[in-house]
Amino acid sequence: MLQGWLQIALTLLIVIVITPLLGRYIAHVFLNERTGLDAILNPLDRLMYRAIGLRSMPDMTGWQYIRSVLISNFMMGAAVLMVLLLQPLLPLNPTGVGMMNWDIALHTTISFLTNTDQQHYSGETTLSYGSQVFALGFLMFTSAATGLAVGIAFIRGLTGRSLGNFYQDLVLSITRILLPISLVGALLLLAAGVPETIAGALQLKTLEGTMQTIARGPVAHFEIIKQLGENGGGFFGANSAHPFENPNGWTNLIETVAMVAIPSSLIYTYGIFTHNLKQAWLVYAIVLAFFIPFVIITAIGEFQGNPQVNAILGEISPNLEGKEVRFGWAQTALWAVTTTATMCGAVNGMHDSLMPSGGFSTLLNLFLQIVWGGQGTGTAYLFVYLILAVFLTGLMVGRTPEFLGRKIEKTEIVFASVILLVHPIAILIPAAITLAFPEALAGISNPGFHGLSQVIYEYASASANNGSGFEGLGDATVWWNLSAGVSILLGRYVPIVALLLLAESMSQKQPVPMTDGTLRTDTGLFTSITGVVILILGVLTFLPVLALGPIAEAFQLSP
């Protein structure tokens, strides 16, 4: 037991140590300060700028930035959809997979385009190497870079700078952050035993004498960007539970840290942008105050196991159903919470098999979206909550609420509100429709409270752009593909538009100087209030479904 907790603590410690280093580096990159990699990568940047036809990089207004995001994403999406639909005709298909259904192809494109990577298929049997590497692998970089660019533009606006240039941010995100770290990470994974090959599946004779096909492929580099970019779409259907994606404790550690590295560092980057590291660490503390308890209750739940099973066994035994024994309860619990917190969505065990406390934590992560949160956007949401907290409580000091010296007025509240509204709309409405017609639409494997959790989880995962599945759903249907696709699109682009407009509106405000009458947002008191506001606004919205899902299930299981 102690070993399990030590593993969890060690991983967290590594994350905290990495935060200031990576955070400072990201700030350097986006403040256009010189970094050590400039000499090697500047030519690459120039090549990419030339490829997208970018000659000068003027600062963009909010709408220009939004238009660039939407147009570039649409173009990439259209191209990838074509690749997926035409994959039998395209090269690099050693396993000889066939055509994809249009709805699965559409869902997959939307899903990877938006950094969600929700998969309603099994990679090894549905996609060619070419589709995996060039279509999906490509989107894994660009979707992560899009999120990062939006997050950085948001921070720029919040701190009174102009939003920057989307294409430049996109290229810098890839060449300065995602690519170098992926390269190092892929080599580490290779060293730890993850395969990287373009040879087809291996046919071999087992000890029993039957033939077995072992799927393999260019896994290592796919794996690291999947984790680092919060993508989560596995090369194999079993995702990081597969021994080729995640063979041992070392790879598990690297992959877990890779998931949290960028979202956690981005909070520190914000601190550098505002010259207020104290606030950055306080905000970091809010996130940890959610994250650590989630890990603990999930881990305890898994460690104590299923009370009904324990009653039969006559002893307390960890719940290992749906888990890889090489990871055990601790690393699976940590991974499950981390992957839903960071909107990565990769899994190293079945979330369907988690105890209700795990279902509760993972669902809550998806609902809140700020416990680290998605690539770039999660940090932005965190500050949206900060703005809402300032507005709600800031009036109580007798002034128009201000954040970073900028007044929070109607425009800001409208945009912040949109972000608050999208999530319930994109989760609860389709879930209610699905549950109203369970026979026709749902295809739920476990009826009752658990089935409810499955459906809610699917849409929450889609809308939060997480992509992990509770699984157990027959989700490869037209209804699921389309409704989840709509949730994903709503959950991605509406907040991006609102975030950028919010950032622009903040950046154009005349800052008010700080006096004793100004509510300081970098105090422990205000940070705690923000935590409570997040709880009230985020959790209370979903309390009824939490009560009827994991909470009711927990009471059902407990003797």
């Binding site: 109607k410 409208v414 509100s417 109203a436 017609f437």
Partner: protein, 71 residues
């Protein structure tokens, strides 16, 4: 008679009410077919109207969010 009808149509509130009622009549049979529980025609109609009221309230709230000055 015709002028009465036209005047009725020109007012915003009665016109939208009429549209809501008409669409409720259209949707009601579909809902009745879809719900497993046995409800009589009136109950289904009431239920559909309630759903449409909720939808209208939601739209109304969106208008308030976007144009709060009007209220």
């Amino acid at each position: 008679m015709e002028t009465v009808l036209r005047r009725f149509w020109q007012k915003r509130v009665p016109r939208s009410l009429l549209l809501v009622l008409l669409s409720a009549v259209t949707i009601a049979p579909t809902v009745q077919a879809a719900t497993g529980i046995s409800l009589d025609r009136g109950q289904v109609f009431a239920l559909v109207l309630l759903g449409m009221t909720t939808l209208s309230l939601s739209i109304y709230l969106f208008v308030v969010i976007v144009q709060p000055e009007r209220f």
